[in-house]
């Protein structure tokens, strides 16, 4: 068995620790990190397709995504150091907005984007506007995704869009929004580039607005 096969097994066993260890060993042994990345993306992609088709449940995708993230955390820095270029649909920074602790919907979107070939930077939940904007300016992702589950926090989405506009970043970075109280018309109103009602639609919307 090769490292790549073992890593695939770790994903299907949902074994995050084993995935991380195997990735470290494989890199040490000189396995091409781009090959590792290909394998994990492909595995997660397959699960994403099955989820879309209603064949498997959400926990399966999200558990597999946890292993893939662990592998990527090992592999990505190595690729960057060596100046390697990896295939990617683009980079997305994603967060649940300030004052809002709802995590699951946002994590679902992150997992599905990951499984569809995006680089995902997940800032977590209850992310203060200030931190969010700082991270955006630092990393300059292709797109920013914002989630809010409450009518009392949806206003943060508008504030972030406004801040991006003021900083002259609005044309450079696409914005996609979602969450229970959010609608297409709200997205239009605040000037977001896209809206998605669920994790499956999020990928489609993002593909569209990034012209992938």
């Amino acid at each position: 068995m090769s490292y790549l096969d073992d890593i695939k097994d770790a994903i299907s066993d949902f074994d995050e620790d084993r995935g991380r260890e195997l990735a470290e060993e494989a890199v040490d042994e000189g396995v091409d990190p781009l090959d590792i990345l290909d394998v994990v993306s492909e595995e997660l992609g397959k699960l994403g397709e099955k989820f879309d088709a209603g064949e498997i449940f959400l926990p399966t995708v999200m558990s597999a995504a946890d292993v893939v993230k662990a592998v990527m955390d090992v592999v990505n820095p190595v690729i960057e150091e060596s100046g390697g270029e990896r295939d990617s649909e683009g980079s997305v920074m994603i967060a649940t907005v300030e004052g809002d602790i709802h995590d699951i919907g946002k994590s679902m979107v992150a997992s599905m984007l990951l499984s569809n070939g995006y680089d995902v930077i997940d800032l977590g939940r209850d992310v203060p506007n200030e931190d969010f904007l700082k991270q955006i300016e630092e990393k300059m992702p292709d797109a920013v995704g914002m989630s809010s589950m409450l009518t009392t926090t949806m206003g943060r989405q508008e504030e972030i869009v406004e801040a991006l506009r003021e900083k002259g970043l609005k044309d450079k970075i696409k914005v996609i929004v979602g969450g229970a109280p959010i609608t297409q018309s709200y997205a239009d109103e605040i000037g977001a580039d896209g809206y998605a009602k669920d994790a499956i639609e999020a990928t489609k919307t993002l593909n569209k607005i990034l012209n992938n």
Binding site: L58, P59, T60, M62, S63, I101, K197, D198
Partner: protein
Amino acid sequence: MRKGVSPAENIRLLDDDDVREIHNNILHIMENIGLKLKNDEVLEFLGDNGCEVDFDEQMVYVPSYLVEECIDSAPSSFRLGARDSENDVMFQQGRSYFCSCSGPINVLDQEEGFKKPEYEDLEESIRVGDYLENLDVVWNQYTLVDDELLGLQSLKAMLTNTTKHIGVFNWYGRDLVGKQIEMLKEVVGSEERLRKRPPATLYVEPASPLSMAEEHAEAILEWTDYGMPVLNFPIPFAGATSPATIPGSVSQALAESFLGLVISQLNNPGNPFIGGTWPFPMDLRQGKSTYFAAEALLIQAVTGQMADFYGIPVFGTGGCTNSYFPDAQMGTEMAMTLMGAFYGGETLIHDIGYTGAGDAGAIENTIYGNEIVSILKRQAEGVTINDETLALEVMEDVGPLGEYVATKHTRDHMEDLYFPEFLTREKMEEEREPDKKAMKRVRRKCNDILETHNPEPVDEETEKKLDEIIDEASDLA
């Protein structure tokens, strides 16, 4: 093998004394009030076997000891055969099974409305019944009113469009039942196999109050000569054709039903028998017979408890509605009647898909009913208490504000949860989209089943023989 299912707990409304009171009521009705039986041949048979008979009045009085003997000799479990042995039913009192039923003289398409059924409609309803996993016994859902040989045509449609156990209506007495038996024999191959794995249950219906028609009485004799299961199910409308009070109505109904028990057991001791009680009183404000009532659950539970006391399976009623539309009334009535029959402990629960209080059959409703049964089956699993289900460890791991979705504990148990196919949440944004209604999903499913599901056919030779038997029978009509 289909094995039935029972809820974690039945609804029980009677104590032991109550059960005994109803039992004594039934014995008293049968021995002292008597039942009208309009068939001299069967009266003679009953007279020869210990019943008191009045030929002038065409009345039979069954002594209590004989009723008790028949109750004892009737089996509480038996095998219902099917064309495909995978679909054989291990049928037993104490578990529930589900079926559609025949009778309505209209087809109701939830979008197109009514039409008169044709033979092809019978076939479609049977194919859908064959497909639905929760239907253990299949029936054609409509009656071909203009066809004088409708009993035989229906039977052919069932024999050629499902591999499950089927229900057979009796319409014309001994001669036509004989033809039905001939057709069954043709399909299973021999009389021995007919007895061993009977492919059909005969449905007969006494007329309330306290009467059985000539053709039904003799049909039971003919049918039980072959040891096949018989079902004698009265439809009293409490307040009109039975007492308005539930214990009185159920007692009368079971006495009516048990006349069939007595005929079957005296003719063939140990013959499989299914009794039962109709659960919907008359709407006395309007003088209408209904297919739903607030009291249904009470009657179903009392009947289920009596079935338990006797160890005799009963025909239950659920999944039907007074409504002609895919509306709130339909959903409420279908679900509540199915729940009452199931939690009440009735055995073979029928009428899934009856609409408009029996005016029409709707296969879309049957498909929807199948999902309600899936939900009942999930509930039947009950709740298991152990360290794994109490889940302290995973709570410790996840902690406050964590999430359970991507944990092993959730993965281990996610398939315990049942996710409905039709009763789902569909997010709608700016406007309500009618296309996302549950019954729209049901309709798409229905089209899909009709397009793709084709049960194993019978061979051409057998089908030809069936047609010959029907041709020969045409002078009986």
